[in-house]
Symmetry: C2
Subunit: 470 residues, 2 copies
């Protein structure tokens, strides 16, 4: 049996489940449900002899996050980076182009990284069945039986079986997000939801894109041809890729192609497109309440509380989601889930950092997080992964005290190099050229106390950087 | 004109407006409305030639808080400390006893420290008028015209004017908190709310307490007679005071006495007895929304958001209070305000620190606050007031790094004494005998990084303490 090449689309920014999901650490990378991110559970599902080593397509911003998350679960993948966001059409074109370079007949399954599928073996089985139809030239979609006239999904109108007695049906029509009345009529007529997963032969998809969206096709080809390897990532060529219009694969191909098929998928699928969906996927008590982390609910029903650290209490308010993060709280009525996106846009207009950035800032070498600040000082927690190193740098306006609380630091300060161990500290005067390395085998954790009259992140002169940052 | 002696009752624990108000820093000491605490605004109101230097009666736990808050507004008072909580009856007995020792005819006004009065000059005027009646032997209450059949207040049934054409009325009946139907009938009959402020002659109140509650009378007298001055506070004698039963002055005297009078008070009074009351006292926009601090309200009405630091957002949820503090969030429906007390009791049963303690812990010398912690470390912000000094102490299980970020520290470490200036640090090894002093004229702020295998507050051996703590 020829193997299927999985391509995971990992570039979304997930504002609908703000404040846990933000531009700098979106939905697909956080454990919204369970202990792992949906990206990780998707990757784990693909650990099956039916699949080749997956390709992950994402934004250049998420490269180290992806590498980290793969490392955490011991999974491997080829990581392809888009220099800018261009929606799913160009991404699928790249997937098809990369697959075709292996062999034009390669069967590809495109999966979203931010969906939950309860019956993962079921999905694997469906992929195998869909692959047979894909080999015959069909572009196969997975159709989910709707349980409500949702207006947030595309709908699929099923036709006859492509083979008598088989599970795969002709797809008669692929229609984009309807209004509520239309959605209800679709439900009555037995339409399916488009789950956003596709199975196709590389050459078939390439031909369809070339036919309906030649600009996307040529931009994707150019971006692959001139792509460059950088620190193990394949970075698509910016000049070519940017020529691709922003268009979803639904609009670009699926609504137009005559080669589409559909396989009904009863696999407990959710695109986790709102906080309400998260609540529905969570374990609830007899009052419909569900608490993740430190929460107390009193005299209320259908409440979902999420808080990692801060005690979060709800009294007498039903049908709400309450999400508490380190720097933002959201109190949201179940029926207003579609307004979270608007809220985030409003916060962006007001230039609030919380709109897009978490308090914990991930870097290729680990992360840092501001834990306190005053008039002339700031305190940060800094964690450096084993073997990693920050850039050689200098600050004009601040001095730094580093106190190592776990692991060992190798500190360069002007011409000196010193090992600093747990419970030791070092002082870096203003203007010194310094660098922090974790030479050890465990995480290095340190507390940094900055003092000075200006403490902005932009007071940094970088002399050398292991991660090719400016 | 003889002056009135104001006595401010300052001992409540204010759980109804948790999480801002907690046992360690209750309602009367926090700026619930405006920039000052209600204790401070009450004190500021008493800065009037009609009044003597006030007496503040409170729990021993709040002595340094009271001193600080007085210092902050430049006010002066005699501070009397109850060694344990005994409700308002014994406190009023002490007030009367202290006043009678000056002169039996002293007119006393007893004021609650946690009420809001919009028309403060109006209250001062009423006190003066009530004082005239008090001189004649009346115990005068301030009656507030009810605007709803509230069940949380005592009610006052007014009688005839004590002097023809005067404002002071005979008080026909003083009845405790009724049920809703009874409250409505009281409203219909023109009853007033008891605002909890009383004006009386010291000897009159003493006689009434002696008549109806002789145990309270003798306990109060004994507690005054054996009281001791400690660091400028008058501490009531524990052995005597504990003999007083816990009883409010309403039950102890007001329901029984035949000498009560009433003066109608239209002074914008609120006892701020619930979050709803706080919302009602706050400035609201045309949707009834009111935001204090960092909040955003979208598609909702009658929302009150309070958050000093954390961005707090409400979408599509109306008629709620959302309070975000550093370590606790409350989402409360307007109609469930009376359940906050229950919530706090539940949190106490679960031994949650947040039930009664703020993240910022006030001490006689200043405050500290945990800002981060990990497996074997904790980071604190410590602020020491000018001239103050922590105890000479030692820890068995932790070492400490101190980084001064503002002001100057004088540090004793075993046999050495050293000045540590801004942007300097010092290391205190495990087991060393150390002491921190602020010898300067401005606040000393430092960041403390503790490392060790046990970081509990109880790992402390105190050798000497300037504040007579154990």
């Amino acid at each position: 049996m020829t193997k299927i090449l999985p391509v995971i689309m990992c570039g979304g920014s997930g504002t609908r489940v703000w404040p846990e999901s933000r531009e700098t650490l979106p939905k697909q990378f956080i454990p919204l449900i369970g202990e792992r991110s949906t990206f990780q559970t998707t990757m784990q599902m693909l650990d099956d002899p039916a699949f080749e080593r997956p390709i992950v397509i994402s934004s250049v911003d998420y490269r180290f996050l992806i590498a980290d998350q793969l490392r955490e679960i011991g999974a491997q993948a080829d990581i392809v980076l888009e220099p800018m966001r261009r929606d799913s059409g160009p991404a699928v074109a790249v997937a098809a182009g990369l697959a075709a370079r292996r062999s034009p007949g390669t069967v590809v399954v495109v999966l979203a990284a931010d969906h939950v599928v309860r019956d993962q073996p079921g999905l694997v089985d469906l992929c195998k069945k869909a692959a047979e139809a894909a080999k015959e030239g069909y572009i196969v979609t997975l159709g989910v039986k709707p349980d409500a006239p949702a207006t947030g999904y595309g709908y699929l109108r099923p036709g006859a079986q492509i083979h008598e007695g088989g599970e795969v049906l002709k797809l008669e029509a692929f229609v984009e997000k309807p209004d509520r009345a239309t959605a209800q009529s679709y439900l009555d007529q037995g339409y399916f939801w488009n789950s956003g997963n596709f199975i196709f032969r590389a050459d078939v998809m390439q031909a369809e894109i070339a036919k309906y969206e030649p600009t996307i096709a040529s931009a994707a080809e150019g971006a692959i041809d001139a792509a460059k390897m950088d620190l193990g990532f394949l970075v698509l060529d910016e000049a070519s890729f940017q020529l691709a219009p922003k268009k979803s694969i639904d609009y670009a191909v699926m609504e137009k192609t005559t080669q589409a098929a559909l396989i009904p998928a009863d696999i407990g699928w959710s695109d986790v497109g709102s906080w309400r969906a998260v609540w529905e996927l969570s374990k609830r008590d007899q009052h419909g309440n569900s608490v993740r982390g430190h929460g107390v609910v009193m005299d209320a029903t259908n409440v979902h509380v999420r808080s990692d650290e801060t005690l979060t209490t709800v009294v007498g308010v039903s049908d709400v989601i309450v999400v508490t993060t380190q720097d933002a709280v959201l109190v949201l009525h179940h029926d207003h889930g579609d307004k979270v996106k608007q809220l985030v846009q409003q916060l962006q207009r007001e230039n609030r950092r919380e709109a897009g950035e978490h308090k914990r800032i991930f870097r290729p070498w680990g992360y840092y997080q501001s834990i306190d600040s005053g008039a002339r000082y700031q305190v940060k927690r800094i964690v450096v992964k084993p073997g990693e190193r920050l850039s050689l740098q200098m600050h004009f306006h601040r001095a730094e005290h580093w106190i190592v609380v776990r692991g060992t630091a190798e500190v360069d300060c002007d011409d000196l190099t010193k090992l600093v161990h747990e419970n030791e500290s070092i002082y870096l005067p203003m203007g010194c050229k310094h660098r922090l390395t974790n030479p050890g085998k465990i995480d290095l954790e340190l507390v940094e106390v900055q003092t000075g009259s200006y403490l902005g992140e932009d007071d940094i002169v970088r002399f050398q950087d292991a991660y090719n940052r400016g």
